[in-house]
């Protein structure tokens, strides 16, 4: 399995062969506050890099989730729909959002590694 990469929209992505697992970062959950509802992309849906792929509703606001790479959704994590509190407690593991079959692995190259992402969140104040 490849290293975890990060997007400027605060998603993380782990690539295993052709399959990418995608979720939101701990930093994102801290910004969002208490998450109360989640909408995930349905299985079979084709999504495009930086395009919409779900919504999280917190007590404060609705926020779009974007996919950091293009591909076809092969699974979504129903357990976070049933219990959105999981997202705040374990966002970068158990509370993944969806899995997709990646279309173009080179899209991974533009994403940040852990060190770059930490620097990004620190500097941008995002």
């Amino acid at each position: 399995m490849s290293e975890v990469k990060f997007s400027k929209e605060h998603e993380w992505i782990k690539l295993d062969g052709e399959v990418a697992i995608i979720g939101i970062t701990k930093h994102a959950t801290e910004m969002l506050g208490d998450i109360v509802f989640v909408e995930l992309p349905e299985k079979g849906l084709s999504v495009i890099k930086d395009g919409n792929a779900g919504v999280v509703e917190s007590t404060k606001a609705a926020s779009d989730i974007y996919t950091p790479v293009s591909g076809k959704i092969i699974e979504n994590n129903q357990s976070i729909v049933d219990d959105p509190a999981k997202i705040s407690s374990d966002p970068e593991n158990e509370a993944w959002f969806f899995k997709l079959k990646i279309k173009d692995k080179s899209e991974m190259d533009s994403l940040m590694n852990k060190e770059e992402y930490d620097k990004f969140t620190k500097e941008s104040g995002n």
Partner: protein
């Protein structure tokens, strides 16, 4: 213009507040616990709210002042008992609401608590409507601290003895550190509680005392979920200059004798609306799906006709459901009427619900 800070600003920081700008003030939206936890603390124990951004207006006067104020506010002030508080409105001739407020009859005149975003314009308007005849003071030296929740009475009583004897929607002077401070039994959370008007320099130590007794600071985020569960309006959202108290379903706050006799600004419109009915009315709405219907969400009928708009919506942590309120064509306002809400381009079913969503928990024998 510089952003203003309340006297508790450094205390908020100490307890991990996240700030946001509200009505020109830097206010805590939440602390480290988060909105849902803070909401539950208030419902189950006791929460402390810094509401010092709100206006504390004192108008000095006697019976003549009560008469003059009755020309402005649609509530019974000439017969108000000493220390009795009333919820009322500042309206225009069209009965549009400039502000909603709490008026309390005190020995020397009347105390009025105003919304932060309206307080300066309210002050000018009231001064003008009273022909500048009375001494008026919109205080900058006083903080306003609310303590709310089932444990509020026990905690506040430990810090200031005697407060437990206050009746709901009434106030009195209490001795605190050899000074007189004014406290009312009131709030905006649907819980029993108090609002304490205290000198800025005493506010921080006073709040720390309540924290030591087990109360926790609560941000404006949870204040919003609490008030919405309790069915209370947020000025600038659920009520504003384009909505009347009748449309807002707040007719109960207009004293009965005043509806009959009138003599206040906006009376003609209120009378007309009561007699002829209104086109739109504020209702509670419960979305069925896992969505939040936020402000400006459009409400549709089963026949796909646009029939209204949401003015507040959130997730209610105590009712564990999505809740909202909004204005809807009167013919669709009956409880349990099926409607649809358009969220992100999709229509979700919802139903008209009675208010409040959360049953009030006022201390037995206190609520009149």
């Amino acid at each position: 213009m510089d952003i203003k800070k309340t006297s508790l600003n450094s205390l908020h920081k100490k307890y991990g507040a996240k700030f946001f700008p509200f009505a020109g003030y830097e206010m805590p939206i939440q602390y480290s616990e988060g909105i849902i936890e803070e909401h539950k603390i208030t419902r189950e124990k006791a929460g402390i709210f810094d509401v010092s951004h709100m206006g504390q207006l004192f108008i000095k006067g006697d019976y003549l002042l009560a008469e003059d104020l009755e020309k402005i506010f649609p509530t019974d002030l000439k017969n108000a008992q000493l220390n009795q508080s009333k919820y009322s409105f500042l309206m225009n001739e069209e009965a549009g609401i400039h502000d909603d407020l709490i008026i309390t009859k005190v020995k020397e005149g009347f105390n009025i608590i105003l919304n932060a975003s309206c307080k300066n314009s309210d002050f000018k308007l009231i001064k003008r409507l009273l022909d500048n005849k009375y001494e008026m003071n919109l205080s900058d030296d006083l903080s306003l601290i609310a303590i709310q929740g089932p444990k509020a009475v026990k905690i506040l009583e430990t810090v200031i003895s005697g407060v437990s004897e206050l009746k709901f929607m009434s106030g009195n002077w209490f001795n605190y550190l050899n000074e007189n401070i004014y406290i009312t039994r009131s709030g905006y959370t649907g819980e029993d509680g108090f609002e304490v008007s205290i000198k800025n320099k005493e506010a921080e130590a006073f709040v720390e005392k309540m924290i030591n007794e087990g109360a926790k600071l609560i941000g404006l985020g949870a204040r919003d979920t609490l008030r919405l569960e309790a069915g209370f309006c947020l000025y600038g959202h659920d009520i504003d200059i384009n909505k009347s108290p009748v449309e807002a379903n707040l007719k109960w706050a207009i004293s009965k004798n005043r509806i009959i006799l009138g003599g206040f600004i906006g009376f003609d419109k209120i009378k007309y609306q009561i007699e002829k009915g209104v086109n739109k009315v504020r209702v509670g709405i419960k979305p069925e799906g896992k969505i939040i219907a936020r402000e400006k969400t459009i409400i549709f009928s089963e026949g796909n006709k646009k029939i209204g708009e949401i003015t507040s919506g959130t997730f209610g942590p105590s009712v564990q459901a999505s809740i909202a309120m909004g204005y809807i064509e009167n013919t669709f306002s009956k409880i349990d009427t099926k409607v649809f809400l358009e969220v992100r381009g999709k229509k979700y079913p919802a139903s008209i619900s009675k208010l409040p969503f959360y049953k009030k928990n006022y201390v037995k024998g206190v609520n009149k």
